[in-house]
Symmetry: C2
């Protein structure tokens, strides 16, 4: 089947740097919207359930009832399912659907999710909120969760020029603990040298930056 | 109320480095086991639901039914709940209950969870398995998720001598992509200099190390 793909995407599909598979789905924009409308509200409900599961103090009887409802929902959903993980899906027009992603995936209940914006200067940013599911120190975000968010958004910022890249090294500097609640993340590629991109970023709360990160992202051999 | 606490714990309770609160619960070992038996199976069911939510291909009608069941479970669980996040809880005997933690928490559906072991040489390790919820590159673990796991286990390894510490800097080096499936994580404190501990670790699959990490952990001023 011949598809009209954006430049470079076919190579990317055929030569996944990770050894995984890219899935090409020949679906319309309307079908994408239909799927989003179907699955996104379910994901949001499961996120709410995750929070309730951590915080509940109800007794054994109610916990058992809730668990039976959850198991019933799971059995329904498993009636027809993908074999394996969600994968990286593209439409035939080259639209990416990273819906299973643990940071930005609209179908992954683990993702807050972040909606990452890009401005005209190549700066990537997102306003997001973290609750009980992301707690490390009491009432504060787990340091590793901050690293997860930074790794992802720095990776997006590394792709600013359209060339693919994979994380080589990644460093995080914790300035102070980060409270649960509303946060902002920002990242930008500082410079590109040959096949390396140097990206930096940070997370801040209302009182300023709490954690900084920098990463070296490498353009894989097949994409050079 | 006077409690018998292990050395240093009272200071830790009173002077949380993160500015958060430590909760002291005067409960028996039997009560801890009762709570574990009540809430751990619910968490496991929600983990299964998360996987099904990502992978399901059932139609709108079944998704709507599943969502209604999930919302009903959430409403039941919210009938009585903690105000805010789970927090860092200790029993009066100084047992820690990090049950809300996103890496090791037995009440947090986001956690795989890791069960971290320690051997007689101060090496910390865990065998664990990651599925669809942790996917970045197709069929492989999200790089940031690996950073999350490493940050946590390096932090545990930094506490080998009983002194508290917080992450100062943390660096991850990706050698190759890490497949979803069974993995091992290891970490050890290499040396301590004054108020700094130098910790290193890695994650490996059946074919060897895929990602290395090193971190500098700092003993907070109040604990020196």
């Amino acid at each position: 089947v011949a598809h009209e793909l954006q430049p470079g995407l076919r190579d990317q599909l055929n030569q996944s740097g990770g050894g995984g598979q890219f899935l090409l789905e020949d679906i319309s924009t309307d079908e994408i919207e239909r799927r989003r409308a179907t699955y996104e509200p379910l994901t949001e409900s499961v996120r709410d359930l995750i929070d309730a599961t951590i915080r509940t103090e109800v007794d054994e009887a109610d916990v058992a009832k809730a668990r039976a409802l959850v198991d019933e929902a799971t059995a329904l959903l498993r009636g027809k399912q993908i074999d394996g993980a969600y994968g990286i899906r593209y439409t035939s027009r080259g639209e990416s659907m990273p819906w299973g992603n643990p940071v930005i995936g609209i179908r992954n209940p683990i993702a807050p999710p972040l909606f990452v914006n890009r401005d005209e200067t190549g700066r990537y940013w997102s306003d997001f909120t973290l609750g009980a599911a992301y707690e490390g120190p009491s009432a504060h975000v787990h340091g590793g969760v901050l690293a997860l968010m930074l790794d992802h958004v720095l990776g997006e910022a590394a792709s600013f020029d359209g060339t693919p890249s994979v994380t080589g090294t990644f460093e995080v500097r914790y300035l102070r603990t980060t409270p649960l609640g509303p946060l902002r993340i920002e990242a930008k590629t500082e410079r590109r040298e040959a096949n390396k991109k140097y990206v930096s970023g940070h997370i801040s709360d209302a009182n300023g930056v709490t954690v900084e990160a920098s990463g070296v992202f490498i353009i894989p051999r097949w994409a050079r």
